[in-house]
């Protein structure tokens, strides 16, 4: 599992690569928490994540709270159909902004 970050048009884009399970999701969380901007915009790119267990949901929940606490807004991009199913079944999908592409995420977060 790797985490890379960049800033595009004022949006912090954090890309995760690899499967998120009980071992890797806490590692991803540790890597991403320091990257959450203050009063900013965060786009989490999941194109490189083919699998996510509830450990990944926990990671998302904590990142979401971290972002809200710091006054930032969050969007997700690149969810696989299966991960979207998992988020839908657990009610997570209702509370996250999900976009279809990095470009539309940047546009939405800057709107």
């Amino acid at each position: 599992m790797t985490v890379t970050d960049r800033v595009e048009q004022g949006v912090t884009i954090v890309a995760i690569e690899g499967e998120l399970d009980g071992k890797s999701a806490p590692e991803a969380q540790q890597a991403i928490v320091p990257l959450v901007p203050a009063d900013g915009k965060l786009l989490i790119d999941m194109h490189g994540v083919p699998y996510m267990s509830s450990a990944g949901l926990r990671m998302m929940l904590l990142l979401y709270r971290q972002a809200v606490a710091k006054g930032s807004v969050v969007a997700l991009v690149g969810l696989s159909e299966e991960i979207e199913d998992t988020m839908s079944a657990t009610g997570f999908l209702d509370f996250f902004t999900v976009v279809g592409s990095v470009a539309s995420g940047i546009e939405l977060l800057n709107a």
Partner: protein, 143 residues
């Protein structure tokens, strides 16, 4: 005849466990989504056994997996000798519609397991926990 996998109960086992389940699902002809849901279910329960059953209890041990296939079903059996725990006694989360700010963390893994497989059972046999996951090979994407 069953395929089996035995390995130390640490979080490093999760990847190999998913690979084992994936291979069994392929051999049974499960479609992509059914295979994913079965992988997720076994992974969730294995994660609970490793973290709560072994590590938090200060215990060490193994996980043992078996894959059984017949004409109708694929059955994965996960056995451990950690602290006795029956996941089917865990209450379903009742806050799935609650905003994330107020959500409790936890209980979602068992929820995904129960709702992801066609049948989920727990047995306590010879001082071991046995978690049983069943998928139908016909109409595997029914639910």
């Amino acid at each position: 005849m069953a395929d089996t996998l035995q390995l130390p109960a640490t979080l490093d086992a999760l990847g190999p466990i998913r690979a084992f389940v994936d291979a069994a699902a392929s051999a049974a002809g499960l479609d992509h989504k059914a295979s994913y849901r079965l992988r997720l279910a076994v992974d969730e329960i294995a994660t609970n056994v490793i973290t709560h059953g072994y590590e938090e209890a200060g215990l060490r041990g193994d996980l043992e997996l078996q894959a059984w296939r017949n004409g109708e079903t694929l059955t994965i059996i996960l056995e451990d000798d950690a602290v006795p725990f029956d996941p089917t006694t865990l209450a379903e989360p009742d806050d799935l519609g609650t905003p994330l700010e107020e959500r409790a963390v936890g209980g979602l893994g068992v929820f995904l397991t129960v709702h992801g497989v066609d049948e989920f059972r727990y047995e306590r046999v010879a001082r071991r926990n046995r978690n049983i996951f069943v998928m139908h090979r016909q109409g595997a994407d029914d639910g």
